[in-house]
Amino acid sequence: MIQIKDLNFAYPRQQTLFSNLSMHLEAGSITGLLGKNGAGKTSLLKVITGLLHPKSGVISVLDYNPKKRDVSMLNNIFLVPEDFSFPEISINNYVKAYSPFYPRFDLQLLHRILSDFDLQANSMLQRLSYGQKKKFLIVFALATRCKLLVLDEPTNGLDIPSKSLFRKILAGSLDENQLVIISTHQVKDVENLIDQILILDSGKVIFQHTIQDISQKVSFISGTSDDLNGAIYSEAIPRGYRLMIPNSHSETEVDIELLFNAITKGKKIE
């Protein structure tokens, strides 16, 4: 679905952000895009959606060059940006104004998720809080049934119940032909949701593995200083350590935060 090869990108009059970046993503996955501040997560999402144009390299999204912003591609892409603005209209009118552009738009799904998120269809968008607006945008994105959904910091501004609801709704509203990319700093919010992790650092993709693959290779446990020997990576926590160790016994839940810190500090899981 997304193929990027030797992508180079720099903002005008700034240092190169992506240097020979390559990656490959297929449909049927929820991919977490992780990276430090300034690693270029949002910029990569903009390149993928055609909002920024690379200097060189090959990029193909749904078999289209995103730079051209072809209608057939735009029909199948929806971006939920971190910052957004809405016109001064109601949710109903917004749906009337924007949904006809998306051929697979599912009105029933929209109303179902609106009700799950406790949003009223006759509410004026400008009167909603930031979190409610974000929830509506996520609802609309899911209802478009686009093949590629790109969510930039989707849980920012959501309250605690909405975050778990977000995970539940997202997992339950997708089909195997869709790809979701979630860029986030709030890794706890997407645990148990994403099935693939992609880490961006120093202008390159330094890590891309499925959760299944990770949990087959490493385990995440809590231990004491006695367990530090043999750990691939460890971090002190109150009353002990969190450890990433080679998997020798059973699979454990992936601690994404620990994994991210380990990978960005040069540790390998192979």
Binding site: K46, T49, G50, L51, L52, H53, R69, D70, V71, S72, L74, N75, I77, F78, L79, P81, D83, F84, S85, P87, E88, I89, N93, K96, A97, Y98, P100, F101, Y102, P103
Partner: protein, 268 residues
């Protein structure tokens, strides 16, 4: 089925519907406000002038001022989504082709203005004329005809007897330039596009004037034989309207092309 990636009337209709849903209040307020402004400004000016002498050419003068001022402001507000990053993202990712978005913007910012504003002015100036005539019978010429006004401008004020095709083209292209220049500026500049466009064209015109001054006055370049009062123009005899008509047509086409590429290559 693969949609047509270049142009679809269906998507132009969708863009129109979308614009009406989002902007219906703004459109209604603007039309009411503009109608009121035409009505009361005309009444004010007529009551302040020697009303018995008021005629079609006075209406035409007011019409021209309104048309130019509002046209520049309105087309300078083209591509409203480009004023913020968030709205630009929304606009650029909307599933419609560059051609559709571009044509829709031309239609709503230039074509609709050219068609609707004269109609609106004609309706409300005649309405105002009839009402004022009832109270002030000295207002004899209270009927306004845009067509007659245009013919007067072309025939009498330019003092050329018969209407020359080049003069027509020059007039049309000149009017279009006043709308296209701010349109292009709005596609290029993110903040305060109208001010920046006016500044840009001021710089170009001042630059042209300074260059011509040096060529003609300082360097005394051969080939320039400026007539009195026409120091900024080449001495081309009676071909002046045709040369200017061609030049301004080319400028307009270039400006339209720039606007197209600004939209096509827009990044956020």
């Amino acid at each position: 089925m693969e949609p047509n990636n270049l142009f679809s009337i269906h998507r132009i209709i969708l863009l129109t519907k979308q614009s009406l849903i989002i902007n219906k209040k703004l459109i209604a307020i603007s039309v009411v406000g503009l109608s009121g402004a035409i009505f009361f400004i005309l009444m004010f000016l007529q009551l302040r002038s020697t009303i018995i002498r008021w005629d079609n050419s006075d209406y035409m003068t007011i019409f021209n001022y309104f048309f130019i001022a509002l046209g520049i402001i309105y087309s300078g507000l083209s591509f409203p989504a480009f004023r913020s990053k968030e709205r630009s993202i929304d606009y650029l990712l909307l599933p419609a082709s560059v051609a559709e978005k571009y044509i829709f913007e031309i239609l709503t910012r230039i074509v609709v203005f050219i068609l609707i504003f004269p109609l609106l002015f004609w309706v409300f100036s005649n309405l105002e004329g009839v009402i004022l005539h009832n109270f002030v019978p000295e207002l004899i010429n209270y009927k306004f005809s845009i067509w007659q006004g245009l013919l007067e401008i072309l025939q009498k004020k330019m003092n050329i007897g018969l209407i020359d095709w080049w003069v027509w083209l020059l007039t049309i292209q000149g009017v279009l330039f006043l709308l296209i220049a701010p349109f292009t500026g709005a596609s290029h500049f993110k903040k305060s596009p109208l001010l920046k466009t006016l500044f840009t064209f001021t710089i170009i015109i001042v630059g042209y004037a300074v260059l011509t001054y040096f060529l003609v006055i300082v360097l005394n370049t051969q080939g320039y034989e400026p007539k009195n009062g026409k120091v900024l123009f080449l001495n081309v005899g009676n071909n002046l309207p045709s040369i200017f008509a061609i030049a301004i047509t080319v400028i307009n086409l270039c400006l339209m092309t720039i606007a197209w590429f600004r939209l096509k290559e827009k990044e956020v």
